[in-house]
């Protein structure tokens, strides 16, 4: 088999064939790493000396927060590909990723609230990070609503991808504006490449496994949903063809 261009997978049929082959593996891997990571994290790590056992929600909170942002980044990239190269699969992948990203945002917000209650004594505070995530959630809602509202698929793809570009710029602006507006309670980044600032190793390894699990879960869901979108799109095309006679 010769080396293939990435763009070959932009063909809907080719995309479905390929993802059909890899989807079971990714799904199994996602489940395994989530189970391993969560059990390891919940039962085989010590309690934090200050936070007690509440710290263990980190294994859901941090990965979902990461994926909430990464999903938007993925939508930004696929929207750009649609605008530049007009591959339908790319636009449909962006559409497929949006609800997953929105749910990740909700998980991050909910676990954050549950964690915040014992730590800060409040379910919600207008802390910059929390506020930014709430705004991100609003962006997801608007994006999804625009997709749903437009009947013509190509028009919807064009409009939502431009909204995604503009929205990204404004989301970034909001992030800085919110930081300026209120200095918060939230701790700094839990993860960084600089090892000194990281959480301790005992928490770090199971956390990495959980993050891998969330990434794989995200990929599996996006593949599955993109397949669904492609098939729905084809069904509409076939129906329209029939009407035309």
């Amino acid at each position: 088999m010769s080396v293939k261009s990435l763009w070959e997978y932009a063909n809907p049929k080719k995309f479905i064939q390929t993802t059909d082959r890899v989807l079971p593996w990714i799904a199994v891997l996602a489940v395994v790493s989530l189970v391993v990571g969560l059990i390891w994290g919940f039962f085989f790590t010590p309690d934090d000396f200050r936070q007690g056992s509440t710290v263990k929600i980190i294994y859901l909170h941090v990965p979902s927060a990461l994926m909430a942002i990464n999903a938007w980044l993925m939508m930004l990239v696929t929207s750009l590909i649609w605008i530049v190269r007009r591959h339908h699969v790319s636009a449909l992948a962006a559409r497929a990723a949006a609800p997953v990203g929105a749910v990740m945002t909700v998980i991050a917000l909910a676990t954050g609230a549950i964690w915040g209650q014992p730590m800060w004594g409040t379910w919600w505070a207008w802390d910059p990070r929390l506020t930014s995530f709430l705004i991100l959630f609003l962006f997801y809602l608007g994006y999804i609503a625009l997709w749903e509202a437009i009947e013509n698929d190509d028009t919807a793809a064009d409009l939502t991808s431009i909204l995604c570009l503009v929205g990204s710029v404004f989301a970034l602006l909001s992030r800085y504006a919110v930081n300026f507006w209120n200095q918060g309670l939230h701790q700094g980044a839990s993860l960084s490449l600089d090892k000194e600032e990281n959480v301790a190793d005992v928490f770090w390894y199971p956390l990495l496994v959980c993050i891998a699990g969330f990434v794989l879960l995200f990929i599996a869901l996006v593949f599955l949903r993109t397949q669904t979108e492609i098939r729905a799109r084809r069904t509409r095309a076939l129906l329209a063809r029939e009407r035309m006679g």
């Binding site: 932009a10 063909n11 809907p12 049929k13 007009r86 591959h87 339908h88 013509n152 698929d153 190509d154 492609i230 799109r233 084809r234 509409r236 095309a237 076939l238 329209a240 063809r241 035309m244 006679g245």
Partner: protein, 205 residues
């Protein structure tokens, strides 16, 4: 000056409606586009006017030579007839609206708010707009809807005068305009065949 359409394929709502559309419109001539409802006449005219991109093929014309008139006339009900016309004249960089008023006999209506006009009078105002644009190629979609016989005559005269000045017109219509010199183009001959079903690609068919 002229309009050359070659091998054009157009779609409506993602479905191909017409393919292989080719014709040439020369200065001083008119083409009347015919065909049953839903065949894609409006889509073709909008593509020619540059409002939507074709799937395939080319439209060759100076974009600053075309003026499009669709089902709606773009008339503001709260502005008077002459204010409406003056606005469009200014947008197209012209100043004189008296010719247009005269050609469609709008003198007595000139200071009336456009909202108070009847449907046929509004249509006359919409057609008078073509004259104030000063553009040579008219692309008209059903220009005679709601016009009475007399007004259709006014319209035919306006088109004839326009052609005599070296203009051109592409007109989609169902009725006889009284323009025997116009060439007739049947859109039905370009009807797109349904795509083969064996494989599906970017177009999902």
């Amino acid at each position: 000056m002229g309009l050359n359409v070659s091998d054009l394929t157009i779609a409506r709502g993602g479905i191909k409606v017409l393919e292989g559309v080719s014709f040439t419109l020369h200065a001083g001539s008119a083409i009347v586009l015919r065909g049953p409802n839903g065949i894609g006449k409006t889509t073709l005219l909008r593509t020619v006017a540059g409002l939507q991109p074709p799937i395939d093929g080319r439209v060759e014309a100076d974009p600053d030579s075309l003026v499009y008139s669709g089902h709606a006339d773009g008339i503001k009900a709260t502005l008077t007839v002459s204010e409406n016309l003056t606005f469009w004249a200014q947008v197209f960089g012209e100043a004189d609206i008296s010719n247009a008023i005269k050609a469609f006999q709008l003198e007595r209506l000139a200071s009336r708010p456009a909202g108070a006009l009847s449907a046929g009078q509004k249509r006359r105002l919409g057609l008078a707009r073509l004259l104030v644009t000063g553009r040579p190629i008219w692309v008209l979609d059903e220009p005679t809807v709601s016009l009475d016989v007399e007004a259709v005559g006014m319209f035919a005269n306006a088109v004839r005068a326009h052609l005599a000045r070296g203009g051109a017109a592409l007109i989609a219509t169902h009725i006889d305009l009284g323009l025997p010199e116009a060439e007739v183009l049947d859109a039905g001959q370009f009807r797109a065949r349904a795509a083969a079903l064996d494989d599906f690609d970017e177009a999902f068919l």
